[in-house]
Symmetry: D2
């Protein structure tokens, strides 16, 4: 099974720039060994179970919880049985359909 | 602490109408005793911890998992320390600001 | 055609409480005459075309633009041909499936 | 001004695999000349106004409308005054904070 989790999480009580807080989350994910991809609007993680995916959300929250009073998160899940390696394959499949490379 | 979870979850391999599947999730939530509110685009749950919120997502997935091959979910979290009862208060606060009742 | 738009929009440079800004948007929608429903996590609007739906987003932005420096918005669209009146029907359909009233 | 739009759009009446439909949207965006980045969970576009951003959503819908009966879309907007070039800068800023390259 392939569980793709895309999420953004940030404090809304820390003013306009939140990259310090987002960086804590990315550092945690990068060190955790999970398969991921950082995008300009969030982070995409591919794991094998929903539990593993939601654990990433919990650990992300733990990075912000000590010094943030209000936290917002937007999450998407795409869960598909009988698949693996979709983090790379989804883009390849689209490039094959279109017949050329795209910006990624 | 008030954790507000808004989520929609549905299979994408079952054709255009998915209300049978969504109904399973609402039934589970309604029977669980959690504070919730059904909207035309999803369900809003208010709990006290992130763990409780993500447990609702896991249980929702368990309702669809046995006979769905691909499942999509869109989730928003609004976590705020030092608050409770926001499921009712957020709308009341807006009505107070505007000075009249709104459609809800 | 039924276009259901659910959206939340708020400034992220105005501190923890944003209800003043959200109220401006709800006031505009309430006065516009569009079919809508306020929820504790956003606003759901039902219109007949995608253009009308995105016009609501533009007008919402206009309420915040003059004095906000950074604005975040989360939007969902559910567009279905051959349907109308889904703002009420979607919940009724689920209650019929479950066989009882739910919290809404 | 920098308007970052992240969106996913797909039919829900076409079965489990929707890459044919998603490919139409990516092809349109790639040919439009707009600054974009394809991710495994959606497409991120950076433009200068909200109108331009919502025009991308409308054109995406036009690709699916002729032969899809039900369409779902999840959209995020991050609008920030006094900035440009964030499609590259947001990731660079996080790498600078962490002190190393991340997966992207």
């Amino acid at each position: 099974m392939s569980v793709m989790l895309e999420f953004a999480m940030f404090p809304t009580d820390k003013g306009e720039s939140v990259s310090e807080f987002v960086s804590r989350i990315i550092k945690m994910i990068d060190e955790s060994g999970v398969t991921y991809k950082l995008t300009p609007m969030g982070t995409i993680v591919e794991v094998e179970t929903l539990d593993e995916a939601l654990d990433v959300v919990k650990k992300a929250y733990s990075q912000l919880e000590p010094d943030c009073h209000r936290i917002y998160s937007s999450i998407k899940l795409d869960i598909r049985k009988g698949k693996t390696g979709r983090l790379a394959q989804k883009i390849e499949s689209i490039e094959k359909n279109i017949g050329r490379e795209v910006k990624k």
